[in-house]
């Protein structure tokens, strides 16, 4: 198999580069390989789109739930603070 053909087939490698490239700059060689692959592979283009949406969901959905749903009862908080105070040097 020629090198280009190998790159075009290798979705495993391409998806790896997609993930890595979301966090750090890829090397020129990696960037070119990914471009060649994505140009030929609509399934990996779809993967990339979904992968980004999952990132956004990880951020957005959890932040939203953290913002306004959970808080502790005042009585539990008082208990917690008392336990801390017990151990503070007087």
């Amino acid at each position: 198999m020629g090198r280009i053909k190998k790159i075009m087939y290798d979705c495993h490698r391409a998806t790896y580069l997609i993930e890595k490239g979301q966090h750090v700059p890829l090397s020129p060689r990696e960037r070119i390989a990914l471009l060649i692959h994505l140009n030929a592979c609509s399934v990996c283009r779809l993967f990339r789109r979904q992968s980004r949406l999952i990132n956004r969901a990880m951020h957005g959905l959890f932040k939203a739930s953290a913002a306004h749903t959970h808080s502790l009862d005042e009585s539990i908080k008082r208990e917690m603070q008392e336990k801390i105070n017990d151990r503070l040097p007087k």
Binding site: A14, E19, Q50, N55, H59, H70, Q81
Partner: protein, 194 residues
């Protein structure tokens, strides 16, 4: 003149345990609850975090904020729970039950696992909630080490080097885990979302 004096005095950030609960309990509780779906356990973890921090007061150097410091202590407690729940903690290799998504010979998607289009960017709040629930369910199925690394990167925005250092993985292994976790999560969303 005054400014000059300030510039030469060391920056000392004091920590004040007498106000910890007021200032941080809700934040820590939400942090834990987002990662472990168990209110009682999360309350205990928050309390344990404060007590552990008290014993390590001398380690607090004021380099990070109190909030960051306390959150870091809590994070380790959450990871410990994951470690206990999941015996495959130390394996970076796929779980035994994990399918092969790609053909080992040429790296091509296997037909059954190739991405298909799905609705993962809903505008409707009800659907968003549903998606969050499915996402959580899929996250819970990841091996503990993958989950920890994936959430540190994607939920906590931590630097790669810091994660590698804290979790004792090489940077090569880090990318393998980030990749496998995402492929696994995506496949799970597709399956559960049907």
């Amino acid at each position: 003149m005054k400014n000059k004096l300030f510039a030469f005095s060391p920056v000392v950030t004091a920590t004040d345990p007498a106000h910890w609960v007021d200032k941080y309990a809700d934040h820590l509780y939400a942090f834990a609850l987002n990662r472990l779906d168990d209110e009682e356990l999360c309350r205990d973890l928050v309390q344990e975090t404060f007590l552990a921090a008290l014993e390590r007061l001398n380690e607090f150097r004021g380099q990070s904020s109190e909030r960051t410091w306390l959150t870091a202590i809590l994070r380790f407690k959450v990871i410990d729970i994951y470690r206990k729940r999941n015996s495959s903690w130390l394996t970076c290799h796929p779980m035994q039950s994990e399918p092969e998504y790609f053909d080992p010979a040429n790296g091509h998607w296997k037909d059954d696992w190739a991405p298909r289009s799905m609705e993962i960017d809903p505008v409707d709040p009800t659907l968003r909630k549903e998606l969050a629930a499915i996402l959580q369910k899929c996250l819970d199925r990841l091996p503990a080490l993958w989950y920890s690394i994936f959430s540190m990167k994607h939920m906590d925005d931590m630097a790669t080097e810091v994660i590698c250092e804290e979790m004792k993985v090489s940077s090569a292994n880090f990318w393998v885990i980030i990749h496998r976790a995402k492929v696994n999560l995506r496949a799970c969303l597709q399956k559960e979302g049907q």
